[in-house]
């Protein structure tokens, strides 16, 4: 087995507050990403998935406190100097953000912004013409027609789908080893979503770029990822092969989440919502973070938090009473 590309151990992100315990939004998150692997992180808003992703590039808000270990190719990211992290950003690890409408600088040409991503890491100092050619090639790669001409456009002259593709082109400009895509399809309509997902799959197949895909859309995970990590209230609660997790979930939260997804073979039935609200990160909650909403919770669930423990091959779950994986499919 080769060494992991990215290895996260006991990652924590918290926001200190004056005269109160700090707000912890990510705690005890650990997982690995192998070179060329596509891993999905699912979870609802506020589950800490975006903060986990942004920690990798150290792009957290100024007031955030980071703890734990993030190793990229064996190098500890939290210990890097500002210059080292800048050299890594956009070159070895790059990121596609959620909202294509606001991710481009509105007053600069698309081509210049993509060109900037290249020029910032271009040790050979290519000339303007070489840079333009490279930008046009990238835009063509993501399926934008007439790329040399379109590179001169401003962001407001692009549609949402085109912008997301241009953003992806910008993120892969330097053939990164890891691409972090933070809800890349959330703001797009369904047909365009599909195009962007195909694009990501092609990138992965053609250049071996590992992808960490953050989403709250389980269908997206099902179509793209071999492995999925489920997050809830800042913790990884389940981590395993996508087909296993989606068909035979072991954590009650994952199970409830799957129950709330509309399915075409069960048309006409009411969707099941998960009762209650996710816990407020500002108020500490003892025990398993899901226990107030869990139909099977017993006394110890509210007293002590379970660890993420292996259950089957390459599958982990953070639960005292993991589901047996068979009943879930029948329910």
């Amino acid at each position: 087995m080769s060494a992991p590309l990215l290895s996260i151990r006991e990652l924590g992100v918290s926001f200190p507050r004056k005269e109160a315990p700090s707000t912890t939004v990510v705690e005890g998150v650990s997982f690995d990403i192998m070179p060329g692997e596509i891993v999905g992180i699912v979870g609802e808003s506020g589950s800490g998935k975006s903060m986990t992703a942004r920690s990798v590039l150290r792009l957290l808000p100024k007031s955030a406190e980071l703890s734990g270990s993030i190793r990229f190719r064996g190098r500890e990211i939290p210990e890097m100097t500002d210059e080292e992290i800048r050299d890594m950003r956009g070159a070895l690890v790059s990121m596609v953000f959620q909202d294509p409408m606001t991710s481009f600088n509105p007053v600069l040409r698309i081509g210049d912004q993509i060109g900037e991503a290249i020029a910032l890491h271009d040790r050979a100092r290519r000339g303007r013409r070489a840079l333009r050619d490279r930008v046009a090639k990238l835009l063509a790669l993501v399926g934008i027609a007439d790329p040399a001409e379109r590179a001169r456009s401003y962001p407001h002259e692009f549609s949402g789908g085109m912008r997301q593709r241009a953003l992806t082109a910008m993120a892969v400009a330097n053939s990164p080893a890891l691409l972090i895509a933070d809800e890349p399809t959330t703001a797009l309509d369904v047909t365009v979503q599909d195009q962007v997902l195909s694009l990501l799959r092609e990138l992965n197949e053609n250049s071996g770029t590992a992808i960490l895909l953050i989403t709250h859309n389980i269908a997206v995970v099902a179509s793209l990822c071999r492995r999925v990590i489920v997050m809830y209230a800042g913790r990884v609660i389940e981590d395993g092969p996508t087909d296993e997790v989606l068909t035979a979930p072991r954590h009650p939260y994952t199970w409830s989440l799957l129950q709330s997804v509309p399915r075409i073979d069960q048309a006409g039935t009411r969707l099941t919502a998960i009762k209650g609200q996710p816990p407020d990160p500002a108020t500490p909650l003892a025990g398993c973070k899901f226990h107030p909403r869990c139909p099977w919770a017993e006394q110890r669930c509210g007293e002590q938090e379970p660890a993420l423990s292996p259950i089957g091959e390459a599958h982990g779950v953070r639960c005292w009473l993991p589901m047996n994986g068979i009943a879930a499919a029948a329910q």
Binding site: G90, T102, N105, V107, M170
Partner: protein, 323 residues
């Protein structure tokens, strides 16, 4: 199809025309509504009624105001803006003679205020919420609140009277008649205090607005994206945040130009600077209707043109404004 920018400039110029006309009409009648009779001032002390009537007739002051206005417009079309009642010279000539001194004063103040204002605004936006930011904000609020005539006189007291480092007024040394480089030096020396007085106000405005616009820009997604590309802090600040905030800065500079011109009247009086401001001031006291109309018209025109230029500047900075 004309290029978007040229089309925008032409449209703005066309829109400015009725504005200029309205300004002319407004100032023309406003001056005549003000108390004071230029004929009485011209005729000297205790004139005979006959002489007073003669003076009035000479300058057309015996006609109804609307008649005077029509006559003025007719002449203005041919480039004749009337004759100064006091100096008997064509208004246009008198104004053009004084214009360069004012341009030098206000232009220098604007350039210096813009540079320092932008730097201060950017510096405090970058450290938003810090002590340095609070200090800059407080200082600019103070600077913004200080009246120009008071700042000017304080500067004179300190640097000219007490320390005797700089001249208290005028544009050139009274006794030396320098030429060439020495002349430039002499004028620059005399400019320090009036420019500083004028720049303080503008600088604080520019700093405050630039700070606000940059704080907002720094919070945008594209700044995060730029950082994720590996851009340095400085690059993010100037190439991304300031490029967006610049539209606000340029708009403020354009809008504040009118205030600068008004401020120049005060500063020119305090520092005996031989510019348009002094000319206006004297014209008001002499009830020099012709010169006042011309002066108002001219300065309004300058303000309109500067605002047009700033609009076009904004369109150059932000492609979304061009259409």
């Amino acid at each position: 199809m004309l290029p978007a920018l040229l089309r925008l400039s032409l449209r703005r110029a066309l829109l400015a025309l009725p504005l200029v006309l309205a300004v002319i009409a407004f100032t023309f009648f406003l001056i005549r509504l003000a108390p004071g009779d230029p004929a009485a001032i011209l005729a000297g002390e205790a004139p005979t009624p006959e002489f007073l009537a003669q003076v009035r007739a000479e300058y057309g002051l015996d006609q109804p105001a609307w008649r005077q206005f029509v006559a003025f417009l007719g002449k203005a079309m041919t480039g004749d803006f009337g004759t100064s009642i006091y100096s008997k010279q064509p208004v246009f000539t008198v104004i053009l003679e004084r214009f360069p001194a004012t341009v030098l004063l206000t232009g220098t103040a604007m350039v210096i205020a813009s540079l320092i204002g932008i730097l201060l605004g950017a510096a405090s936006a970058r450290r938003a919420g810090s002590r340095a930011d609070a200090l800059i904000s407080a200082a600019s609020l103070v600077g913004y609140s200080l009246p120009g005539f008071w700042v000017g006189q304080l500067l004179i007291l300190l640097f000219a009277v007490s320390l005797n480092w700089l001249p208290a007024g005028g544009m050139v040394a009274a006794r030396g008649s320098y030429t060439g480089w020495r002349h430039v030096e002499d004028v620059a020396f005399h400019m320090v205090l009036p420019v500083a007085t004028l720049a303080v106000f503008l600088l604080t405005m520019i700093a405050r607005f630039t700070r606000a616009a940059m704080v907002e820009a720094l919070d945008q997604d594209y700044v995060l994206v730029a950082e994720a590309k590996g851009a340095s802090r400085r690059r993010v600040l100037w190439n991304h945040a300031f490029r967006n905030a610049a539209v606000t800065t340029v708009t403020v500079i354009g809008l504040e130009f009118g205030m600068v011109l008004a401020g120049a009247v005060v500063v020119e009086i305090v520092f005996s600077w031989p510019g348009l401001g002094r000319l206006f001031y004297d014209a008001i006291h002499r009830r020099d209707f012709a010169l006042l109309t011309g002066a108002f018209m001219f300065s309004s025109l300058v303000v309109i043109v500067v605002n047009m230029v700033s609009d076009i500047g904004c369109a150059m900075l932000d492609p979304r404004i061009r259409r």
